[in-house]
């Protein structure tokens, strides 16, 4: 029975295999290194910042004037500005995004959806500097017609435009989540004699809930991290207000504002943009993480 069977043994793994794997592993490390570098830079500069400023001031002061004579380091005005614009943006993005997602997944033929989805996604692809321009040049004047008291810089206009920008994120991810709801669930509901709207509201949307929530949180994270629109159109004045008609400053806008004047390394101003960056990073990180977990859940669920 021993016909000359070819040997199954080989002395060594081919060198090319080893080299390629090493190279690829190196590439994979880049992202880890990037995260580490972000944490490290933000962390080190923030630590330096807190060696000069009491963390309590940072957390409990209500004014943010690190560059001025009367220095205050309360992060809240920036956070407040950030949340205000983000909130306005989400007030636009969530209803529009969600309804658009329903329109695309439930009421559009595949052909229409084929054109609709990329068209809507174009809204997210428009460079933010363009949106900033639009907010400042087109939207604010329109708003001033309606509300004469609104400032040339305000939270409302960039918020609205940002909502337009984020809407596709919400729409697209929600649509994915809604479409991931098996057709059979809809049919099961329709087959029970339930109407279409009830089916969508009571069966489809709850089933897609975690995916939708993930999209909303991710959208919020985008809004929080968005820079140019608010830098151009929101004014650059940190203040603790919920009034959308007055100029405010967001965390990102502050960073850009300081960066536009080339800030000398080592100064408190320099450190202050890093500490704001760190706060921004933490906020978005938490949101991204929650969104990730939720989206994983809907993938598992369906």
């Amino acid at each position: 029975m021993e016909h000359d069977a070819p040997s199954l043994s080989r002395v060594q793994r081919p060198l090319a295999e080893v080299v390629i794997e090493a190279l690829l592993r190196l590439a994979a490390m880049v992202s880890v290194v990037t995260t580490a570098a972000i944490v490290l830079t933000l962390g080190l500069e923030s630590a330096a910042f807190f060696s000069e400023v009491a963390p309590a001031d940072f957390l409990f002061d209500t004014e943010w004037t690190p560059l001025f004579a009367q220095q205050h380091f309360g992060i809240w005005p920036l956070v407040c500005g950030t949340l205000l614009t983000s909130f306005i943006a989400m007030m636009v993005a969530v209803p529009f995004g969600l309804l658009a997602a329903i329109q695309m997944s439930e009421f559009s033929s595949p052909r229409v959806r084929f054109w609709l989805k990329p068209s809507v996604e174009v809204l997210a692809g428009v460079p933010t500097v363009v949106y900033g321009y639009v907010a400042l040049i087109f939207v604010t004047p329109v708003l001033q017609q309606v509300m004469p008291s609104i400032g040339a810089f305000n939270a409302l206009a960039p918020g609205l435009v940002m909502g337009l920008m984020i809407m596709p994120t919400v729409a697209s991810l929600s649509e994915d989540a809604i479409r991931a709801v098996p057709v059979s669930l809809r049919e099961a509901s329709l087959g029970l004699g339930v109407g279409r709207v009830s089916t969508i509201v009571r069966v489809v949307l709850p089933s897609a809930f975690s995916g939708i929530a993930a999209s909303v949180i991710l959208g919020t994270s985008r809004a929080v991290g968005e820079t140019m629109i608010v830098a151009i159109a929101a004014g650059q004045q940190p203040r603790l207000t919920l009034d959308p008609t007055v100029p405010i400053a967001t965390m990102t806008a502050f960073i850009v504002q300081v960066s536009m004047g080339d800030t000398p390394q080592g100064t408190l101003e320099y450190k202050s943009i890093y500490v704001v960056g760190a706060a921004l990073f933490v906020m978005t990180f938490v949101m991204n993480w929650v969104s990730y977990k939720l989206s994983r859940r809907y993938r598992r669920l369906t």
């Binding site: 295999e17 880049v30 933000l42 658009a100 990180f285």
Partner: protein
């Protein structure tokens, strides 16, 4: 027998559908209005001169040549750095990395990186490339920063694309005695390429329109020349637009609008290409 007669017209359904339709139509109308407005504002300025000229204090004489050239150079450089690393990284994670706890960490890590605000990358680039590596405000510093920024986009797209390659194909290749790399090169890469290309183009488009991190790592606002090397200073189209938007003179707003038309044309073209590639990919898969 139960009656099957309809009792009333479902008003709720009609309203709901109208709302849904509105939710798609209104933003698209807004987009179109925006395009029309910007074009109306900027198209008058748009001519060959505008594209071929250098910036000027006189709005009507100003052009976007160095900004456009800078953008192209920057984006190409970015792609040159980001695509190989990102694709390699995606390949490693999907094809080599053992899918244990570590992979979960990387997964979260990359998802998170994709959501980190761009200004943070700016801060990172400023600290690491501009200062620590002393690359100053050069093209390469900008490109490296943007690379880090777009890498998660490409990695995610590539991984998704790699994941759509059925495991059965890998096993088929391995089952015929292929080594891992020959399997990856022969089977996975050709199949995943369109997805990778789509992701890369979208990343390209994103890099093209990005401005915040470049402000932080120091793109120039007024530049009289075209980049001639990786250490060259540079400006980019979005920065130029931002610069014009920031000028109190009306004529410059018009310039900004014209610049935006060019920028949008480029970005929308890139998006369209990405959609087309994705579409062909899907058609091939059916």
């Amino acid at each position: 027998m139960i009656a099957m007669r309809r009792r009333s017209v479902p008003v709720g359904e009609i309203v709901f559908r109208a709302l849904c339709l509105g939710a798609v139509v209104v933003p698209l109308v807004a987009l179109v209005a925006l395009l029309v407005a910007v074009i109306a504002e900027g198209v008058g300025r748009l001519d060959a001169d505008f594209v071929m000229r250098f910036p000027s204090r006189i709005a009507s004489a100003a052009g976007i040549l160095p900004a456009l050239a800078g953008s192209i150079a920057l984006v190409l450089l970015t792609m040159l750095i980001a695509v190989p690393v990102a694709v390699g990284s995606a390949l490693y994670l999907e094809e080599y990395g053992n899918r244990g706890r570590f992979a979960g960490v990387i997964e979260v890590n990359i998802t998170n990186l994709a959501g980190v605000p761009s200004v943070i990358y700016g801060l990172l680039g400023l600290e690491i490339f501009v200062r620590f590596l002393a690359l100053r405000q050069s093209l390469i510093a900008g490109a490296l920063t943007l690379s880090l920024l777009v890498m998660p986009v490409i990695i995610t797209a590539s991984r998704e694309s790699i994941r759509t390659v059925p495991n059965a194909l890998r096993e088929a290749a391995l089952g015929m005695g292929a080594t891992r790399w020959s399997m990856v090169r022969g089977v996975v890469l050709p199949m995943a390429a369109p997805g990778m290309i789509t992701g890369s183009i979208l990343a390209l488009s994103r890099a093209f329109g990005e401005s915040a991190p470049l402000i932080i790592v120091g793109a120039a606002t007024f530049i009289t020349f075209l980049p001639n090397g990786v250490m060259s200073s540079y400006s980019t189209l979005p920065i130029q637009i931002f610069n014009w938007v920031s000028r109190p003179h009306e004529a410059f707003q018009t310039n900004a609008a014209a610049g935006i038309v060019v920028l949008l044309a480029a970005v929308l073209c890139l998006n369209a290409v990405a959609v087309l590639v994705r579409h062909r990919l899907q058609r091939r898969r059916n």
